[in-house]
């Protein structure tokens, strides 16, 4: 945030009048005011890509749905975050995610600590109407400390961003296209053979059980992505 900009905007989110600094996103302002908007790819401390589409909101006067994480507030904006149309799309997007790969909560290390699972519960997802794709995907356990299980990956690219933006190593990236996209380390080498710095940031920011710590098997793997805003703050203070 540019500290010189002190311009204040007022807007309405879900019939609640709120104020914001110019340049803030709808998502930031909503969360400051206790208005919940579901997100998966967004994480405080990382750049936003607007990819998961769960934070889509309606803005009065526009027929288009806009992602709250990258849309800047404007004076007099009227935002709705929980209309029937939005809830329907969120529901379908979550179903698409659950049916895309092999998400089996009962045998997942992230069971009880998974953002996808929590979102499903919050959004009242009782069943998935879509056919499960059941793809055959590999597990990369070549790293001495961590494991990458593609079956649980939702391609939110938080690991890619944290590694490139915060750690500065850029081990992770995406290969392939569309439904065949895959997170890879270095130039599609085993994670254990990559130039990984073993910092573990990617594991902490992963919303599901796709990246996990080998020492914490079973379903006791809480993650602590809250370190990120603090780390950024301390770096800026230096």
């Amino acid at each position: 945030m540019n500290p010189v900009e002190t311009d204040v905007k007022t807007l309405v989110i879900d019939e609640q009048e709120v104020s914001a600094r110019a340049g803030q996103t709808i998502l930031e302002v909503a969360r400051e005011n206790g208005i919940a908007i579901p997100t998966l790819c967004h994480l405080e401390g990382l750049s936003d890509v607007g990819a998961c589409r769960l934070c889509l909101v309606e803005i009065k006067g526009s027929n288009k749905l806009l992602p709250a994480c990258v849309t800047a507030v404007q004076e007099g904006m009227e935002v709705s975050t929980k209309t029937e149309r939005l809830q329907k799309h969120r529901h379908t997007i979550l179903e698409l995610l659950f049916a895309e790969r092999n998400h089996i909560c009962s045998v997942c290390v992230a069971n009880g600590h998974c953002e996808l699972q929590t979102l499903g519960q919050e959004q009242g997802l009782t069943h998935v109407r879509l056919p499960y794709r059941n793809p055959e995907l590999p597990v990369d356990a070549s790293h001495e400390r961590f494991t990458l299980d593609h079956n649980r990956c939702i391609l939110c690219t938080r690991c890619v961003r944290v590694c490139a933006e915060i750690e500065g190593a850029h081990i992770w990236d995406v290969m392939g296209r569309g439904i065949n996209s895959l997170i890879i380390s270095d130039l599609h080498e085993d994670w254990g053979k990559s130039a990984c710095t073993r910092c573990g940031k990617c594991v902490q920011v992963c919303p599901t059980g796709a990246l996990f710590d080998k020492s914490k098997v079973g379903s006791d793997h809480p993650k602590y992505p809250e370190f990120l805003p603090y780390l950024n703050l301390m770096r800026e203070a230096q």
Binding site: V49, R53, H89, I93, P131, G178
Partner: protein
């Protein structure tokens, strides 16, 4: 380069041409080349040489009627020959000054008479690898006029007056885009020409780049002058090797003539153009993904705003237009915006190039004024559906467009009219289908295309198109249920409204339009396990089901 020097070049070309009694233009676009028109050209050259005639045999770009290729046009008599092969060279050479070769003559007046050529005005008349040929056909007059007589503001005013809208598919007003980029703050700006044409059945941009590359370059330079940019990029698919090689030649020749580089036409204006090759991703035709690709990153779209006009290539204000849009610029500057606005329909001005393919007699490239009815294009210019079959639908706009049924053929072609009936103008692909096409299968084909070409960034497009493909495959193989159909419609709405970029947002269009106009075909597949067009194979299912089938 000055106006006088341009005129000198043009004069010398005319003088050289006038020494010949005839000009034989041989189409060497990709279509005709695939039937060895290069050998035909060599054969014609040696045939006229052997007969000692003063004839100029010229390589030209696409003449449009690809179905009848290889094509040969003899000037000044304007005799068009079709399906000409090297063996016919002698015949044609000896027929000069005498009666034309009747059995090779192409008499398709109605095909050409209804067309209006602006973008394709030079196609078939100039050698795409000779800048002098282009100059002899008023080439670079517009650039000189813009640089020496007009302010950037005047140029933008002319474009605004012309009513030109983006030819890449979206139809965004070009004048508005140019003035936005011109007003954007920043010392450094870029111009990008989007030549990443990827729609199945579309080859307009390829033909323009192959037939008249200088026209696109001139448009870009004028654009650079208007918005204050000094660097341009042409992003072309690597799958278009001929277009790339002709563009490379064209850029080299333009630089040599001082029409690119520093102090163009002795003015303080500098501009140069670089080619960037696409690596085969359809999504890179989307402007933000294309920009990421030029930057050397993974070609995935970014949420807009910010639009490229304010923050584009390397974060700088960027003017990005399609090949055909740039190809329209020079004629507009030369003849004025008002002249252009006099052609076309009320809200869609000028002409549009369409690639007419599928079940149609005269497949090839056509350029028609906006507002012309689809029926005129399909039945008049296109010559209708061949082999006694009946017309079923025409698909416009590629995988982002929709199928238009026979009862809507009388609507005029314009951006708004096509959107209203559930399709889009798109970049100009037009695929004609007859009674042997199964519309469910067609929808499945396009969704498969969107599935494999989705970049995978956003969930609705990545997983949604894959699910839609699964459901359509079920329906096409006879295992679909009415529940699947309801689910399919539900997915369409989410993918359309929730996807990040235009590719995802328009991906359901082929399904939505076929559901709208050919709903009964879906029902036949699901309820009666029968494909009305006989395309989908359901024999294995039919043998299993009992006689009374309920959905």
């Amino acid at each position: 380069m000055t106006t006088e020097e341009l005129e000198q070049i043009a004069e010398s070309v005319r003088l050289a041409n006038s020494k010949h009694d005839h000009e034989i233009n041989v189409c060497m676009g990709t279509g005709c080349l695939s039937q060895h028109s290069d050998k035909l050209k060599d054969a014609l050259t040696s045939a006229v040489d052997a007969q000692g005639k003063k004839v100029l045999v010229r390589r030209t770009g696409c003449m449009g009627l690809c179905a009848a290729g290889p094509l040969v046009l003899v000037d000044p008599e304007e005799i068009l020959y079709q399906h000409v092969h090297a063996a016919d060279a002698e015949k044609i050479a000896s027929s000069l000054d005498r009666e034309p070769v009747a059995e090779l003559q192409c008499n398709l007046r109605e095909h050409f008479d209804e067309q209006v050529h602006i973008v394709l005005e030079n196609s078939g008349h100039i050698d795409p690898e000779k800048i002098d040929d282009y100059i002899a056909h008023d080439g670079y007059n517009a650039l000189l006029k813009a640089l020496t007589e007009m302010t950037p503001k005047d140029v933008i005013q002319q474009i605004t007056d012309s009513g030109l809208r983006g030819r890449g598919g979206g139809g965004y007003p070009t004048g508005l885009k140019w003035s936005t980029v011109a007003k954007a703050a920043g010392e450094m700006k870029f111009v990008i020409c989007n030549g990443d044409e990827g729609d199945p059945g579309a080859f307009m941009d390829r033909s323009v780049l192959e037939s008249d590359p200088q026209r696109v370059i001139e448009g870009m330079v004028i654009g650079g002058y208007a918005v204050g940019a000094s660097k341009g990029f042409i992003y072309v698919r690597a799958e278009y090797p001929l277009a790339v090689s002709r563009l490379t030649t064209a850029l080299r020749e333009a630089r040599r003539h001082g029409l690119l580089g520093n102090n163009i036409c002795n003015t303080p204006f500098n501009f140069d153009v670089e080619i960037r090759l696409g690596a085969g991703a359809f999504v890179c035709g989307e402007e933000t993904a294309l920009i990421a690709s030029i930057e050397g990153k993974r070609g995935t779209p970014k949420p807009r705003p910010p639009y490229p006009a304010s923050s584009g290539l390397f974060g700088k204000p960027t003017l990005i237009n399609n090949v055909e849009t740039f190809a329209n610029i020079a004629p507009i500057i030369r003849k004025g915006g008002k002249w252009f606005a006099s052609i076309g329909s009320e809200r869609s001005k000028g002409t549009k190039v369409f690639a007419l393919t599928g079940k149609i007699t005269n497949s090839g490239l056509v350029e028609v004024p906006m507002g012309i009815s689809l029926r005129q294009i399909v039945e008049g210019i296109g010559g209708g559906v061949p082999d006694g079959h009946t017309f079923k639908a025409v698909q416009t706009g590629g995988p982002s467009g929709g199928c238009i049924p026979a009862e809507l053929l009388d609507i005029g072609v314009s951006y708004d009219a096509l959107v209203k009936i559930g399709s889009i103008m798109g970049s100009g692909g037009m695929i004609v289908m007859d009674d042997t096409s199964c519309m469910v299968n067609v929808a499945r084909f396009f969704i498969e295309f969107c599935m494999t070409e989705s970049c995978g960034k956003c969930i609705p497009c990545r997983a949604g198109t894959a699910q839609m493909f699964t459901l359509l495959t079920r329906i096409c193989t006879g295992t679909g249920t009415m529940d699947d159909l309801a689910l399919l419609e539900d997915l369409c709405s989410t993918v359309k409204e929730a996807s990040l970029c235009g590719l995802g947002q328009t991906a359901p269009n082929p399904i939505l339009s076929t559901l709208k106009y050919f709903h009964n075909e879906y029902i036949e597949h699901i309820v009666n396990k029968r494909c009305p067009a006989g395309v989908c194979n359901m024999e294995s299912i039919q043998s299993e089901i009992p006689s009374e089938v309920t959905a």
